[in-house]
């Protein structure tokens, strides 16, 4: 309790920093803190008289300091000054991108950050881990205290709740992942499904990696230059074939990922039509990432053959992003609720100094009265004196029990300031 006595009334939660919404990438990369920078920041800023508690979060999209401060203006100045000196960037350059949230707004902001509502790609899952790591660093450096501990744990809780209760993390928002999701809608499990990679390219290779992660079967690589094919096949633990063997392999593979530089279709409708009979109509899914396209879109009209080109996948993604944005509204509702609850907790903390003062006043009165009484009753033994002391103590405890509970609980019902004020006046505390 004594820690909290240090003028909790005067402290504020503030969050200061910049993110992808306010600062361009050129600026963010100049300001971004490395892990060493963060450790240094906690050392230096944590020792400033204006700052009680501090956590520093730095990702590629944001650098933010979350603080419990004695003096808002001075604390913000400290942060700016420190960043400017550490990164060798004049304050004037980032001042415009720099935002400061105070009180509820700071709480809301950190909740939204942890829940990925403030991310560039809403719902991306990495941010929660990054926030947790930042908090862990500050606990190791002992720069987080009662308020930040509570706040961060609430933030993790809110993030988890939003992830399970809303759909902000559902559905793919990258081309390669959207393709894999479609694979799953066609094949169910991807276990032992064979894939043919025609050509090469970042997105196509990423899709193959997703397939491997889903325990897909053989990966077959066809490339115009056989050496390149061999190299890729080696990476995916598959095998390389000649480019003109593709038709033959269409008989056995389930998924074709195509990303060649060919000017014309490399797989035509007639090719696939004849193959489908041999395949006994087992489904065949073509993912065409190439521009110009590699796969004849007419193939999509054949039974049990499916073709998605890059535009189709892009449409899927845009729809998914819209879904996530819709879901983020629900997320914000959960955040609002959590902000209110946190405010109530903070207010209940504000009752603590009053309770302490009240207790002190009673103790002082009791002590003075006991002194007087003992003077007149000087024949009392030590045991008897002790018994009287214990009795007085428990008397005070019993008397103060209900008012204490009332003052603490009242924080959760609002209007605590009024009752704290009345209590102070009633008992002449100050």
């Amino acid at each position: 309790m004594s820690d909290l006595e240090i003028d909790i009334k005067k402290t504020d939660i503030i969050l200061a920093g910049l993110n992808h919404k306010t600062a361009p990438i050129e600026l963010r990369e100049r300001i971004a803190f490395s892990q060493e920078d963060i450790l240094r920041a906690l050392d230096v800023l944590g020792n400033q008289p204006a700052i009680n508690e501090i956590t520093v979060i730095s990702t590629c999209n944001r650098v933010e300091a979350l603080m419990v401060v004695q003096d808002k203006v001075e604390a913000v100045e400290n942060v700016k000054q420190f960043s400017s000196e550490l990164k060798n960037v004049p304050v004037s350059i980032f001042d415009e991108s720099f935002y400061v949230h105070i009180g509820d707004e700071a709480v809301r902001h950190i909740f939204r950050v942890a829940s990925s509502l403030d991310s560039m790609m809403i719902g991306e899952p990495q941010i929660l881990g990054q926030v947790k790591a930042a908090y862990l660093t500050s606990t190791q450096k002992k720069t987080s205290g009662v308020i930040l501990n509570r706040l961060m744990h609430r933030a993790f809780f809110v993030a988890k709740r939003i992830r399970t209760e809303t759909g902000i993390g559902d559905h793919a928002v990258s081309i390669s992942y959207a393709a894999i999701e479609l694979c799953k809608k066609i094949f169910g499990s991807l276990t032992d499904k064979k894939a043919l990679l025609a050509g090469a390219g970042e997105m196509a290779e990423l899709a193959v990696e997703h397939l491997i992660r889903n325990k897909a079967g053989d990966i077959i690589v066809a490339n115009r230059t056989f050496e390149r094919g061999l190299e890729l096949a080696g990476r995916f633990n598959g095998y390389a074939i000649k480019f003109d063997e593709i038709t033959e392999y269409l008989k056995t593979v389930d998924i074709v990922i195509s990303s060649t530089g060919a000017q014309n279709f490399i797989i035509t409708r007639d090719q696939v039509k004849s193959v489908m009979r041999i395949r006994k109509n087992r489904p065949l899914f073509f993912i065409d990432i190439a521009v110009p396209r590699d796969i004849d879109p007419e193939i999509n009209r054949l039974n049990n053959a499916y073709v998605y080109d890059i535009d189709n996948l892009q449409d899927v993604i845009s729809e998914n992003i819209e879904d996530r944005n819709r879901e983020s509204v629900k997320g914000d509702r959960i955040v609002d609720e959590a902000v209110i609850n946190f405010r109530k907790w903070c207010e209940s903390l504000k009752a603590v100094p009053t309770i302490v003062a009240l207790r002190k006043k009673f103790d002082a009165i009791a002590e003075a009265e006991i002194k007087k009484t003992f003077k007149s009753l000087n024949k009392l033994s030590a045991d008897e004196k002790n018994a009287i002391n214990i009795m007085i103590n428990s008397l005070i405890n019993k008397i103060l029990h209900d008012p204490t509970i009332f003052l603490k609980r009242n924080g959760f019902m609002g209007d605590s300031a009024k009752y704290i004020d009345i209590t102070k006046k009633l008992f002449n505390l100050n």
């Binding site: 094949f187 499916y306 449409d315 899927v316 729809e319």
Partner: protein
Amino acid sequence: MNIVILFTILFYLFGTAGYFAYLFLQKNYMQKWGFFFISAGFLCNCLIICFGYIKSGWFPAQNLRETLFIAGWAVSGIFIILHHKFNLRILGIYAAPLVFAVIMAASLIPDSGGAIKDISNSFWLISHILVILSGDAALAMACGAGVFYLIQEHAIKTKKRGFFFKRLPSLELLDSTGYFCIVLGFTFITIGLITGLVYAKVVWGRFWGWDPKEVWSVITWFLYAALLHQRLTVGWRGRKAAIMAIIGFAAVLFTFFGVNFILGGHHEEFTKW
């Protein structure tokens, strides 16, 4: 008896509500409740049949009312089996209202009592009825899986993902569930036809009498036989199989109801009121 029927209807109704809530809100506990209620309804449905047997002393399939109670029992029974085998939750959207409608219809039909013959407790007749109706129930499920397959395939082919895309499972699961149902249903109706033939021989002294129901049963049997043959030889799967499952079930329905209402024949009294 009436209270048991009421509870059966209520359980199936709650099951339907659970599955529809699941369809729209996608909360897992909803389909769990749905499944729980369907299972409870199934048990009550068993009781209806048992009480019917005890009350009359005959296997209760003497009129359309009693036959429909058995049909509902078979549908929910097959659905419970499928649920455990494939965990295809969304099928409840189809099965729950279906079984509710069947039992509701049964309860609305007045209990007229058929002309009971002392042959009605024959082993061949009872197994004929139970097996045929279970087969029909499995084929009904195949039809449902087929409908879902067509919806999902349409969404993937046209690249317009609507309400159902994320709610329906993979094409592969829908196709294999449908296939399993057809194999199961086909096996049952084959056994059912054989027991029916034996029964006819016992009662009428002949295996085959060109009765309309007999004829239509065989037509239905050939439809499914063709579907299975095509699947095994040239791989009729996916869309074609789904469409065939729906056509096949239409034939089943006609054999079950249509023949009695339109064409008459010696099954009349069992399914007429």
